[in-house]
Symmetry: C2
Subunit: 425 residues, 2 copies
């Protein structure tokens, strides 16, 4: 079989799902093309640390070419997919098109504003490195502006940070901002005391970390409060603008609002012409394919699939990784004319970190919180980081931060003069 006769596997998106699918096909008799809008794989579970000046972008991102460069049956293209034509087996790019024999669609999701897209300028979300740098810029700039603000009311607003959404990202962001203000910046200012910063985490439902067991939600809330974070549950945000947010008719004045409250599918999903859920995600068959198209797989955050109890699988890295590998195996089966197998998620547990030596862990057979949960969180994240260099640097940065209470990446880059509002006016 010559290489041009080998079936062509097209993987759209080099997140966890796409990357692990490509790796699982390493020795397979297929030609693989990986396309991504970015030249790097992003380790999203640590993105909040870039947003809060703990890590640099280069520590959690790795060039896709460098990951797959030695895998001879892969080529990597920097390209943006804008649509899928399932009937003719083609993916439309912003500039051109690529045909495939097998498709693995793993473009991920974006944050969503429940129909209020105008809120985005006042309350950025956290999905890309650019998002993280913008959030870092806003947080650091708020302290800088507070130092120069002579009036009390606007100074209070500058020192108030609102995080909307009590899932893992919101909890991690709120905890990290509290750490910066309470521990890192203590000696840096003259006119303000950064410890006076007010951090409010707003969750619409009755408890934070709603996908975790209830006792861990309670423990996470206690740990956040110990760090100085106000946790508002059963609180729905009805308005966001430059001056802050409105919750239950009450105005909360804040110069910095961050959004961690929901996701929305890639527009690619709509182009499939198949059944979608309310967030626009693709409802897939048990073998991860699209109805009627055994050659087209959808995996990761974009796919909707229930676990053995019918509960939808969460949008986390382990699900994407296992689905990527499973899709790869089903493609191998198809090339050998073996029927596909259904996907079963092996849930090894969930972890969320709140701050220095504070986290909650749920491994199914055991639940715990505090220092040991935090250590587990550290080791598991280091283990899944790609590349020895990145692991080494992140271990060093964390050890450095732990012992010195300093944060390395406290840089304001990009638009330096503007208030958040200036940059988009």
């Amino acid at each position: 079989m010559t290489s041009s006769e080998r079936p062509h596997v097209l993987i759209v998106g080099a997140g966890f799902g796409g990357l692990y699918a490509a790796k699982a096909l390493k020795n397979a008799p297929v030609r693989i093309t990986v396309i991504d809008r970015r030249n790097h794989h992003l380790f999203q579970p640590l993105l909040y640390q870039v947003a809060t000046a703990g890590l640099s972008p280069g520590d959690i991102a790795y060039p896709i070419r460098a990951v797959l460069g030695r895998q001879k049956n892969v080529r990597v293209l920097l390209a943006e997919a804008v649509g899928v034509d399932l009937a003719s087996r083609k993916v439309k790019l912003r500039d051109g098109e690529i045909s495939y024999d097998y498709l693995i669609l793993s473009p991920g999701v974006r944050h969503a504003y429940f129909g209020h897209n105008d809120w985005e300028r006042w309350a950025p979300g956290l999905k890309t490195l650019e998002d993280a740098l913008e959030i870092r810029r806003r947080i650091l700039l708020a302290f800088e502006r507070a130092e120069r603000e002579p009036e009390e009311a606007p100074r209070h607003a500058l020192l108030t940070f609102v995080v909307v959404g009590g899932g893992p990202t919101g909890v991690e962001l709120a905890g990290a901002i509290a750490e910066i203000s309470r521990q890192v910046m203590v000696r840096d200012f003259r006119a303000i005391d950064p410890r006076e910063a007010r951090i409010v985490l707003i969750e619409g439902g009755p408890r934070i970390l709603p996908t975790y067991p209830e006792d861990l939600s309670t423990k996470a809330e206690a740990q956040l409060k110990r760090l100085g974070v106000e946790v508002w549950t059963n609180s729905v945000v009805t308005s966001v603008d430059a001056s802050g947010v409105v919750v239950a008719g009450q105005k909360l004045r804040s110069a910095t609002t961050l959004w961690a409250a929901g996701v929305e599918a890639s527009p690619l999903a709509r182009s499939l012409g198949v059944q979608l859920d309310r967030a626009g995600r693709v409802i897939v068959a048990p073998d991860l394919t699209v109805a009627g198209h055994p050659e087209a797989f959808v995996i990761g955050d974009l796919a909707v699939l229930g676990d053995k109890d019918g509960k939808p699988l969460p949008g986390v890295a382990p699900v994407a990784i296992q689905q990527g590998r499973h899709a790869a195996r089903n493609i191998l089966r198809a090339t050998s004319r073996i029927p596909p197998e259904p996907f079963h998620y092996l849930d090894r547990g969930s972890l969320a970190t709140i701050g220095r030596a504070a986290a909650v862990a749920d491994f199914g057979w055991i639940k715990f919180s505090g220092f040991f949960a935090w250590l587990s969180w550290l080791f598991i994240h280091i283990f899944f980081l790609i590349g020895f260099r990145n692991r080494f640097i992140v271990i060093f940065e964390w050890a450095w931060a732990y012992f010195t209470y300093q944060r390395a990446a406290r840089l304001i880059t990009g638009n330096i003069n503007g208030q958040p509002s200036d940059s988009e006016e």
Copy 2:
């Protein structure tokens, strides 16, 4: 003497000059205000390594507050100076003004296009972190686009990199691009061979590194050629656009042109109403003050002063550091009613690096090139980096790059879709 009676020293710009001036006044009976448009001090000698994916922004930048946070007589303000009123001893800010008893003006310089400011969009210069990230984006994107370009002529243009200006920055950029293409990216692409990239360094004068002894220029040129860089001397660029540059009536097609060919003073200089040189820099008295204003010092790249032979001092970090300390000492003398002393530059030598194990060194009493010049360059740059953490990380990154031939920071961020031209159209 109460603190409000203490004279107020205003330092504009926290580059090498401003920062070392503030540190030299550590135990002085003065109140110090340091203002900068940025929240970080930038180690400019290594900026070209950020532009060529060897280091991350956080490795060579350090928050000014973190450097000066423990120095009790200093406050740091994020603010942009837009003018100086020498008569009333006030600095105008973009938002407000600050009065002073003593002024140290060290805002630095920008790159200049000799009246062709429209060239900037096609040929970015290298002075800020944002500049460096934009250059990194263009270099990496050119390889990505070449991988997808089926036609030969545009592919050649994408793999041609032009660096205009044969000073240290131009030499370092050209050498680093050659290294990336020859050594780092070798296995990463399928359709192109990055080793075919053409790198052209264009210098208007008769030799590169014109401020160095002539034999070192010759050696630097030989080392660049060994890396695969074409060195064009006596070559003046007369046009720059999206398709490349024109040199002596001949078109050189290139998708990526970088500018390292000249500097221009900060507009602040004009507001002084004193004598400027052709590049708009301030001609200072031997004690570093402005004529008629013994309380106003100008230091660093913005100041023009001759050495003992009347030759103007170069715009390098050691000059700025020594001038910063000297201005601080003259202010201390003034507060004790002791007359100021003239500044004398102690030239400890010059170093320029060409690439892996390649550099030239001129320490006055000894000149050498090659591996040992490169080692000297490494140690001196590590020594002057601020902060243990940054030193450690940079040593690690360099060792890692040396032994693995990899570069950590190969990320394309910012505008990902665009050609260089798109972003500003």
